[in-house]
Amino acid sequence: MRVTVNGEPQDIEPGTTIRAFLEARDIDIRRVAVALNDHIVPRERLGDTRLADGDVLEIIRVVAGG
């Protein structure tokens, strides 16, 4: 199953939740914002939102800036 994450294609297991996807990559979910198909997924919903084929996922972090 293929999804797009931050503009790049990624193959993942069907049924994967966003939270699982992030934790598998050691991403601290308290430090990111996530949008799925253009809609923001609140942090507390990441664990029960499953990715589907063709989904577009965006993972945003805070960086230094002026």
Binding site: V5, N6, G7, E8, Q10, R25, D26, I27, D28, R31, V32, A33, V34, A35, I40, P42, R43, E58, I59, I60, R61, V62, V63, A64, G65, G66
Partner: protein, 277 residues
């Protein structure tokens, strides 16, 4: 609706707080977190600046390096408010989206709104900034828009619900100082929300001059981050802001055309005693 350019001197500095929306600040210096040689230097500079609010940006995470250190790890102990920005946005839609994501990522509904109209100069598109302000205010954001020194744009931003207006002193990152200081002063005289000068300041005298005109606060990034000694420059900026603010409150002497001696005109000692009477 209109502020005084020269108020009666009043109160003690400790009473001289700045309120924007629901936050009150003792320090009138806001600091950006970009461009420092290291996070350690950034932390020292922020501490030296005495600031209570720092800006951050939001960006796509680089999935090839998801464990990269986060600026938040360094900022967390500092107890500063975060002011996320929409830097990089060039349309209303993009800026609004960045604001949403920034709110989710940082937990604050404050946003430094930037909608850039020209890539080379990073000049704001004030018409789109007004529109984005309207949208975000409606959605409950506390919006601090970056704008040009254009008076009517500032008035329109206030009308759109901006919590403060943030005119630029000079193009971002140039350190050229207050190029159109008359334009900034015009905004100070006509807008009733706080005015924060953002971008282009280079040295503390720039910050002090802005504050002396009645500007409410300044936001500085590059001039600190790219100084040879960022923490020392951060302290210098802190003092410059305090100096300018205190001078504004103290009420400057009127500028005079004609010289006037500081020592008494009477009783001047003669060249020789014999010259007496």
């Amino acid at each position: 609706m209109t502020k005084q350019a020269q108020p009666q001197a009043h109160g003690q500095p400790e009473d001289d707080r700045l309120t924007i929306a629901d936050r009150t600040f003792s320090s009138r210096l806001f600091v950006g977190t970009g461009k420092y040689p290291s996070f350690e230097t950034m932390v020292k500079a922020i501490q030296a600046s005495g600031t209570e609010m720092v800006t951050v940006a939001v960006r796509y995470m680089n999935l090839d390096n998801p464990g990269a250190e986060s600026v938040l790890d360094y900022l967390a102990p500092l107890q500063c408010h975060l002011l996320p920005n929409t830097a990089g946005a060039t349309t209303v839609k993009q800026a609004v989206r960045m604001a949403h994501l920034a709110r989710e990522a940082t937990g604050t509904n404050w946003i430094k709104l930037e909608v850039i109209g020209d890539d080379r100069t990073l000049w704001p598109d004030t018409a789109q900034t007004v529109e984005a302000t309207r949208v975000l205010v409606e959605e409950g954001f506390v919006v601090l828009p970056y704008t040009s020194p254009d008076l009517v744009a500032a008035i329109r931003l206030e009308e759109a619900g901006a919590a403060a207006v943030m005119p630029l002193a000079a193009p971002i990152g140039t350190g050229q100082g207050l190029l159109d200081w008359v334009g900034i002063r015009r905004i100070v005289e006509r807008v009733s929300v706080p005015v924060v000068v953002d971008a282009g300041l280079g040295v503390p005298s720039d910050a002090a001059k802005a504050m002396e005109m009645g500007v409410d606060a300044v936001l500085i990034n590059t001039a600190i981050a790219l100084a040879q000694d960022p923490p020392k420059m951060a302290a210098a900026m802190k003092y410059g802001v305090v100096a300018g603010r205190q001078a504004y409150l103290a009420g400057r002497m009127p500028v005079r055309d004609e010289a006037s001696p500081s020592s008494p005109a009477a009783g001047v000692i003669r060249e020789t005693a014999a010259a007496g009477s």
